[in-house]
């Protein structure tokens, strides 16, 4: 949960645009230059880090995707890396799996937290306790949480936690990560358990900003609980809903550590291979950094497409 905000700074109206506004107007040119130098001096550390570790790699990734390095010699190969990557049959499997994960994760990890937040918001008791509980798994190192699922919950024998529960309920047990059909749902379940806390807290905060009069009015008009949710809660939180949908898509498209730990990478019959895992495979096992860079650019383009749709949708609503 790194990104929880909208880059939208509400400026106080009438706020002066220049620094030290209360200071006398007779600023000399020299003073201005000096102020600016100090300003930039304070920025330099962070900006350098952005240049070296964010902005430059961004450009470099795109350049690398059109190059090929062999025995220390770098040549320009045009779209070769792209065609090679796309020709790889696991490319399409990986995208299919990743989209499948994203859709399942949206259904579970996006809708469920919203209703959990609505529920928690109604409670007058045990609120703090419930909030701590939901957020607790977010604080576990993902490797720790996933080993827990891998060894205990998804144990395919009847000694596994989930199978023991299913058996006690007289339901058929599952092979979990060893069955290609269950791999994705099992990964989504683990991932949702680990990550839903952040979304719940953000929803809760925005639910608390909904004016009570709106519910009051809806109730007087005879709207039941469900219609109050549809006509008051959802419209009132739509910006947060849209933002979290976007963030959820970006986050789930990067599916990596779940396949790596739960499914030892590709999983049964490649049912766990994700695009991010493929990037990792190409870049760090097959010594094909250029192919991995091309895959990264493709992922960026796909996500940029989603962002464009997001901007469209949210802009229209305003």
């Amino acid at each position: 949960m790194a990104i929880t905000t909208v880059p939208e700074t509400p400026r106080k109206p009438g706020r002066p645009p220049s620094p030290y506004s209360a200071r006398p107007q007779r600023t000399s040119l020299g003073r201005k230059v000096r102020d600016n130098l100090t300003g930039h001096a304070f920025l330099i550390g962070a900006v350098l880090c952005f240049v070296v570790f964010s902005w430059y790699p961004m450009v470099r990734g795109i350049i690398m995707s059109f190059q090929r390095t062999r025995r220390g010699e770098t040549t320009w190969v045009g779209w070769d890396n792209y065609s090679r990557i796309i020709a790889d049959p696991s490319f399409w499997t990986a995208w299919q799996n990743t989209f499948y994960f994203t859709v399942l994760a949206l259904a579970l990890g996006y809708v469920v937290p919203f209703f959990v937040a609505i529920l928690l918001n109604e409670f007058r008791h045990a609120k703090g306790y419930l909030r701590i509980l939901v957020y607790l798994p977010v604080m576990l190192p993902p490797a720790s949480a996933l080993f827990l699922f891998k060894f205990y919950a998804y144990d395919p024998s009847e000694a596994g936690l989930f199978n023991a529960i299913l058996k006690a309920l007289h339901l058929p047990t599952s092979q979990w990560m060893q069955s290609p059909e269950m791999t994705m749902p099992a990964m989504v379940l683990a991932s949702t358990w680990m990550n839903m806390g952040g979304a719940v807290l953000i929803y809760l905060a925005s639910l608390q900003n909904i004016p009570g009069e709106l519910y009051e009015a809806a109730e007087l008009d005879g709207a039941g609980i469900w219609r109050r949710i549809v006509h008051v809660t959802i419209p009132q939180t739509r910006l947060i809903l849209a933002l979290l949908a976007m963030l959820q898509i970006v986050a789930t498209m990067q599916l990596f550590i779940e396949p790596l730990i739960l499914a030892n990478g590709a999983g049964a019959e490649d049912s766990a291979t994700s695009v991010a895992y493929l990037i990792y495979q190409h870049g760090f096992f097959q010594n094909d950094l250029n192919g991995a860079a091309a895959l990264g650019v493709i992922m960026l383009v796909v996500l940029a497409g989603f962002s464009a749709v997001y901007v469209r949708l949210t802009a229209k609503q305003d």
Partner: protein, 295 residues
């Protein structure tokens, strides 16, 4: 965070406290409290106690709720065989460094953008915020290539803590969070300091920072947990067994180690972040939601 300020929510308070509403409310509350405890705390209980079970007990059906013959030896084995002391020390060291680097550079940058407002400040801020939309996975390869051969300097940062510290400074979310906080500090305080002849650095140190303690705390906690939770980046840039972080170390050992020992190690790795969370949960929650907009 606004806390139960008595404002009405979806269902009116009077409806909840009378007759049928009251019964439903309490039933639902009990069900949810029990359910959530089971769902979110249960697995953790299973983890802590499971690591105390013997290999046979783990494989038995149905699984036992309490370890019959607790084997603390699993935890001791995990500690010794995986060299957890060293791994924990490494992770702790990277986390502290990350806090210091982020506090110094990100605070200075946010201060500059918020109060000094140099020319092109807005462009720089926009470029920084733009990186929020770029997923880490997209940059992983070019970032790695950059780290093994730093441009101009031609230094290899593999196995150097700077490979973890410096990329974390490029954190647009922190800078945005800090800038928003600094924006709320009145301009008049700055002007007064200027009248007294204070330099920009002095103003930052004596006026801005003391007022910003809450947000600095939030940024520090986020920095620690980010380092503790990160996996792929430390796995790539800290390839030697001596420089690994605890998550990567457990993963590297998982193949040839009995699973109760791996789980015991996972429990130990999770303890520091869980403790941090329990101590600072209020700050963490407010930090998570300060940036969120009114819906």
């Amino acid at each position: 965070m606004a806390q139960d300020s008595g404002t009405r929510t979806l269902i009116s308070q009077s409806q909840l406290s009378r007759g049928r509403g009251r019964v439903i409310y309490w039933t639902l509350l009990v069900v949810v409290v029990a359910g959530f405890t089971l769902v979110f705390l249960g697995p953790l209980y299973w983890m802590v106690t499971g690591a105390l079970k013997s290999g046979q007990e783990i494989a038995q059906t149905p699984p036992s709720l309490f370890p019959k013959d607790p084997q603390p030896q699993n935890y001791i084995d995990a500690w010794n065989n995986l060299a957890l002391a060293k791994l924990l020390f490494n992770t702790f060291y990277y986390a502290i460094g990350a806090v210091l680097f982020q506090l110094v550079f990100d605070t200075a940058a946010a201060y500059s953008l918020s109060k000094l407002r140099p020319i092109f400040g807005n462009v720089i801020l926009a470029l920084m915020l733009g990186t929020l939309m770029i997923p880490a996975m997209v940059l992983i390869v070019p970032q790695y290539v950059t780290v093994i051969d730093l441009p101009i300097l031609h230094i290899n940062l593999l196995d150097s803590p700077f490979a973890i510290w410096l990329p974390l400074v490029a954190n647009a979310f922190n800078i945005f969070l800090l800038k928003r906080f600094f924006d709320s500090i009145p301009e008049e305080l700055m002007a007064a300091a200027l009248m007294d002849g204070a330099t920009s650095l002095r103003t930052l140190w004596s006026i801005i920072l003391p007022l910003s303690r809450p947000i600095l705390g939030v940024v520090s906690i986020f920095a620690v947990t980010a380092v503790w939770k990160d996996f792929l980046w430390p796995k790539l840039v800290m390839p030697s067994p001596e420089t690994r972080t605890v998550s990567v170390g457990i993963y590297a050992f998982a193949g040839g180690t009995p699973m109760n020992v791996v789980i015991a190690a996972s429990v130990i790795a999770a303890i520091p972040t869980v403790i941090i969370f329990l101590i600072f949960q209020r700050n963490i929650m407010s930090g998570l939601t300060t940036g969120s907009i009114k819906g």
